[in-house]
Amino acid sequence: MFTALSRIIRYGLLGFWRNGWLSTATISIILIALFVFESLIIFQILTQTALDAIQNKIDISVYFKSDAPEDEILKIKQVLSGLEEVKSVEYVSKDQALEAFQSRHKDDEAITESLKELEENPLLASLDIKAQDPKKYAAIAEYLDKSSFKDRFQKVSYTQNAVVIERLSKVIDTAEKGGVTLIVVLALLAVLVTFNTIRLAIYSSREEIGIMRLVGASNTFIRGPYLVEGIIYGAIGAFLSVLFALPIIYITSPYIKIFIPEMNLWSYFLNRIFFIFLYQLLFGVTLGIISSAIAVRKYLKI
């Protein structure tokens, strides 16, 4: 058993080495396939982060009339937090609103001056409501509109922004669905290309396989070295795909940060490089083994 295994591994390594050009060609194709797979993972992470960031920017603000007492507002906040559709509710008091307003316009002297002129704080207290799902804003807005404390509201921002929010939520939805479809299609393409490359590589050995059968080799003994070669293809491909990704990500990371400030792709990649390599290894080796096994099977029927 052990001798058989060591012979199979030795023949696999020998075959890999002696068919140098074929092995190189096969590995480059697997490398491309794994690269596609890797890009898909990163693409998925990026779109998810970007979409999350956009979602976080959408909210409904309820502005209260200036005579609404704070404890009542807090009570309303509690009621709203209890709703299923609501992810979070944040209370912004009049003073906080003023502070935020001042810091936002600290360079604008006209505004700073005119604020000083006023004796009373002109800003309103508000509740910023975020939904679990951007599609739920309409429902929340409707709830607010029908609620008993409606006459405490000065205005609800949703009514002003309804169109934008709805459009954004549609964009997010489509981007998520489209992303999944794209990933499935590209991953399938990568699998098919790899499978066919390995099949062609083994096709060139079909006579050898026939000879081995005729001189009395068992199928396990014939198949084994090809599976070993498949494993080597996958492993080297996985290693190279991660290695080649490093400079690309290093260069693009600052540009991605411009579009998605929440994302530092370089450090994200470095932190998870081991898992990404493991994913790639698993994907590459599985693909190598399965393709080899299917390709050899055809020629073993002598």
Binding site: A4, E208, K301
Partner: protein, 230 residues
Amino acid sequence: MIIFQNVSKIYQNNSHTMVALDDASFTINPKEFVSLVGKSGAGKSTIIKLLIGEEKPSKGRIVFGSYDVNKLKLKELPFLRRHIGVIFQDFRLLSNKNAYENVAFALEMAGRPQSDIEEFVPQALELVGLKNKATNFPRELSGGEKQRVAIARAMINHPDVIVADEPTGNLDPANTWEIIRLLLEINKLGTTIILATHNKDIINQLGSRVISLDNGKIIRDEEKGKYILT
């Protein structure tokens, strides 16, 4: 002991049928040297293909020792084939293995220990006169040398039978006689030899059993045969 019992092999195409072997019956005893003669397409190769299970007979029964050849499954065929050493006209060496590895392969696949390989492979290569070409790949060997590697591979497992299908078909006369001499030597050591050929000189010199075939039929089976085809 090899027994062919009323064996026929018919290849069927959409348009026509081709009878490769027609109701052939014969028995080959251990240690015999038997020649199969006939023109190309007479059925020599078909008999060999049927014997090693490369093809299945359309009719009849083939027995090899304790094996009922046509009832063997794909999985069981390797065990039968390890009892039969095969030599082909086109050599059929493994092109990405060198001479030593080609011979060693037959022992390795049978699960023999490394010590056996280190002992027997050089012996076999020496017997066929290729000790100094052990590390050469098939593409670096001449036709005669390739065939001698194939013989070393065929005999290394000490098979009960060596089957040679036109082993000299691609060789010049000098190499031809070298191959026949090796086969005779192996036969003397107690291995049955089945030699398919259409080389008249070889048959007439051997003076051993000859089974003559024509159009898939056995037309003659003589103890001390000559090459006669009508």
